[in-house]
Symmetry: C2
Subunit: 351 residues, 2 copies
């Protein structure tokens, strides 16, 4: 079981070296020979033997560069955690990571960090890039250097990555809308807080939300979305303002950051726990309110898994030449309820 290069070499009357050249596309082989070798390799069902390859190539430490804008952002920090934990498991395969953390989407900082990573000789890159033309340019150059680039979570225009791992924001928003539809009566007034209407992801998310809510003869009074710019002070103001002007709101959808400010505003207005709230991302302020019963559901885009998948795809490529089946990989959005966090009294009680 398991064809070797040696066997193919023997069959074709050449040396292993030649077979190696052909199968690894190193060139410098007479076309006829090449053809013959390819054919017999194919017919014998040759497959690379991973262990041998990685062994013979020497204990070359493969380095995966990581650049995540995790500074002070829980969601992105979770992406980084996922990446780090996946990297840990790769240690035995001589793969290590070099991680940089950028803050927000500071383009200059990211550019600089990318240069640093390249200087350290990475073989692959996982990044949550700023959607900026200079970044695109640099990532394109990196790709042209033969380094696979996996983009995580934040889509970037005009750049073809090795792979993309993230959310399908529209479908994800639909799930939120589908849930909302089930917990408030027809005709209810529904409000939305969003980060910024300019962010492609956020916009698609509320489109999905609205579409699902209005589908199937759903008839709701949807208020114009308010913007938090992911900032607690701003969200406090806009939510306070919103609820004072619209006393009949039955449900608020927190589709983006600024959660704490939003909850504070509701609390101050005496509405926390009265108005239904659903919110994006399993981050601390949301989980706290979920457990208190002030939030009906939280939508989790599984940032940790996104990070893991990104590393998985890159390492599979480095180790086994395996190309991801799909270039674009969506992590499904999960609905989390209070009960999702139930911890059994004793583990013994389980099973």
């Amino acid at each position: 079981m398991g064809v070797t290069m040696q066997e193919i070499a023997y069959m074709c009357g050449v040396s292993r070296g030649t077979v190696d050249r052909v199968l690894n596309n190193r060139g410098k082989v007479k076309p006829e020979t090449e053809e013959r070798i390819r054919a017999t390799a194919e017919s014998m069902g040759y497959r690379f033997h991973v262990s041998s390859q990685s062994l013979s190539v020497g204990r070359r430490q493969l380095k995966i560069g990581v650049l995540v804008n995790a500074a002070g952002h829980e969601y992105y920090s979770n992406i980084l955690s996922g990446i780090l934990s996946a990297l840990e498991e790769l240690y035995i395969y001589d793969i290590t990571g070099i991680s940089k953390i950028s803050s927000g989407l500071d383009v200059d900082q990211q550019l600089h960090q990318l240069d640093e990573l390249m200087a350290q000789g990475i073989s692959a890159l996982a990044i949550t890039p700023a959607n900026d033309s200079r970044i695109v340019e640099k990532l394109t150059r990196i790709t042209n250097d033969g380094i696979p680039v996996t983009v995580v979570s934040t889509p970037i225009n005009d750049f073809q990555p090795f792979s993309y791992v993230g959310s399908d924001h529209y479908c994800s928003g639909r799930i939120a809308g589908g849930f909302a539809r089930q917990i408030v009566p027809l005709g209810s007034e529904v409000a939305i807080m969003i980060g910024s209407l300019k962010m492609v992801g956020h916009e698609r998310r509320i489109e999905g939300f609205m579409d699902a809510l209005q589908s199937k003869g759903g008839d709701y009074r949807l208020l114009t979305p308010v913007q938090s710019f992911d900032d607690d002070v701003i969200s406090y103001k806009v939510i306070s303002n919103l609820v004072s002007r619209h006393p009949n709101i039955r449900l608020i959808f927190f589709a983006a950051g600024g959660y704490s400010g939003g909850y504070q505003a509701l609390d101050d207005a005496g509405l926390l726990g009265k108005i239904k709230v659903i919110a994006y991302d399993a981050v601390e302020p949301n989980i706290v309110q979920l457990k208190k019963g002030n939030v009906s559901a939280v939508f989790d885009q599984h940032p940790t898994k996104q990070g893991k998948h990104a590393i998985k795809q890159l390492s599979e490529y480095l180790l086994n030449h395996r190309i991801p089946e799909k270039r674009i990989n969506y992590e499904p959005t999960e609905i989390l309820l209070d009960e999702s966090f139930y911890v059994p009294v004793s583990e013994a009680e389980q099973k």
Copy 2:
């Protein structure tokens, strides 16, 4: 980077062979030497080099035995799919699977199939075992032969598996209850259809359901659960009977098989789409009704992932001597709505 046995041998003034003996616990080494070697290996941070090991040990084909009671059962078939797809990825590591399918929980059949698997020389086993003392006995013997046994989905008493992968039925049931609580008004009459009160998993599941429903001052009229024995004819009868005697039911929880019969009964009574239904497992009859809007939510225990995890754990052990962090691994239960199945009109529209 990366300490080798050779280096340790040099440091200790012995040969690689001796280092190999110590580090692999092959015995036959003078205690002092052994102690010294262990100490320096430890201090130098020695780690096995996977590629070299698997290469030197020869292209030994590792076989993982698989025994799933998937015959005619969609849920278990999904477990098998997960197992099979995970095995496919292991081909390049010279790991293959030998799969047997048992029907229901026929003990004699399973015993026979286990014998067959053992005769074929498996190095690991993934199984959905019948909860029977003879099976326990056999699995114990297999374990004693040094073969790791991973139990999937169906807990088995009095046997300590290498690992267990499945659902936490109680917590899972709580999630169903938490969802139900949000979609029916306080005081509603709620009915439950279960497979059999004797099945440990099912029983725990409805316990969790009831606990969550009644928690937080929830006050519902819970009817005594009816049993379907996973059979459509029986479920048709019991559900027909149930709804005719209890005209005020607001929600039915299909906690186990017999779905088609149940839906048929509701349809014949003119109640399909009127009474709310929530149901366990993302199997076809449930998904169909979910998409039609006759079911509010489906609870998915991710059988496919369970299968994948089982194989992952076994292969990590075979390949890298890695022991699972936890012996018991629960796959979280996911809430699926109609919207979870939304397919974008065109892929181009995405992102």
